[in-house]
Symmetry: C2
DNA sequence: TTCTAAAATTGAGTCAATTCTGTTTTTATG
DNA sequence: CATAAAAACAGAATTGACTCAATTTTAGAA
């Protein structure tokens, strides 16, 4: 009762994702034809659509893995933040940003973001919203931690601040992936400059 | 020498936009087939593609009109802002948000935003980035005005603050259009709550 | 008015995502 | 170990955005 069907299913999922990831990387999202992904994964076109509702969902599965890694890496910072509000935010955001292009190219990010706003109710659209929320929650957790440590004023509206910080960072990241020539250090510097206003306001 | 060719051109542009706007409204963006737009505008498919590079650019032309109206409406607030930082921001943002669904449905906004991140170098992608920048500049202008009026501390980094306010608002707006059931008053209240943190920090 | 080059229009054809329907494989049951 | 129902698979057919070569229209010179 080991479930032959379940095993085959997991295997096919993996093969499809691996084939798609390789082809997205080589040929870009648009350039990676479903037919080619199917061939490389050794399944038929129909099977791909049995596993994923549409091409975007395949990319979605890859993006989710990436963001979950980022969330994991962020936990360390929340547990043990630098003893300075500006550095704490910068460190967490640094992890997000630096990790972001590990597996995903800017083009893949653009596609993923586009799909998530175009089809917010598709499986990936909902997953993406969930990931954004998780990132927001992590920033909120960091702020709560800093408040507990006495580094941020207790009367600050932590949840709203967390959302503000996330929204600004996310928008900056969107603009960043839209411009191929934009560089990570400049992105980080720009976000730091914006956060400086907040840091000055909320520090004890 | 009134330019027959130029007149016909303008007329066809108008007919295409009107047909598209009507069909987008009736059938949604995806539901509005190019063939149907062409038929309603009484031109051929090829002609549409002579005027616009792709379907997204047609939507882009409509979005641009809408945002330009919003920018115009915003000028009054910048010229004559309420004598209170929180109200000033809220009034300007209120204009943006309240106008936003006049001509464009949430679905159209979703498509427009998706296209602008998917194809940042297409005519519409670049135009959309320009519109975002114009909105950012208007918020910056308001902040500069408030600084000149002595309502905002002079030592505040105005440009960075303007970008922060815009980015947060824009991200909130994106989430707003992604959820059909989200309501404008709640959106405005959430943004006000976030801005309250800033207002407290920057007021004289 | 007539003619020619440039500009614009046309719609049949191409391409790739997605759907659909018949077939095969797996599972569970007697 | 048959066997029927359920699940998964395959790939041909459909669909709709976009292209392109042929045709038509316009501008303006002779």
């Amino acid at each position: 009762m080991s479930g032959l069907r379940a095993r085959q299913k997991a295997d096919r999922h993996r093969r499809i994702i691996e084939a798609a990831a390789a082809l997205f990387r080589e040929a870009g999202y648009e350039g990676a034809k479903i037919e080619a992904i199917a061939a490389q994964a050794e399944v038929s076109i129909g099977t791909i659509y049995n596993y994923y509702q549409n091409k975007g969902d395949i990319l979605g599965a890859i993006v989710s893995m990436e963001v979950n890694e980022v969330l994991n890496a962020g936990r360390g910072v929340v547990a043990n933040p630098p003893a300075n509000v500006g550095d704490a935010l910068d460190t967490l955001i640094g992890i997000y940003v630096e990790h972001s292009l590990h597996y995903l190219s800017k083009e893949m990010w653009r596609q993923a973001m586009a799909i998530s706003t175009q089809l917010p109710d598709s499986p990936f659209g909902q997953a993406y919203t969930g990931l954004d929320r998780a990132l927001t929650e992590q920033i909120r957790a960091l702020i709560a931690r800093l408040q507990a440590l006495g580094l941020v004023r207790r009367d600050i509206d932590g949840p709203a601040l967390g959302e503000l910080v996330f929204n600004n960072m996310n928008m900056m990241f969107i603009e960043f992936v839209k411009r191929d020539e934009a560089k990570i250090p400049e992105l980080r510097a720009a976000i730091r400059r914006q956060n400086r206003i907040l840091v000055a306001a909320i520090g004890v």
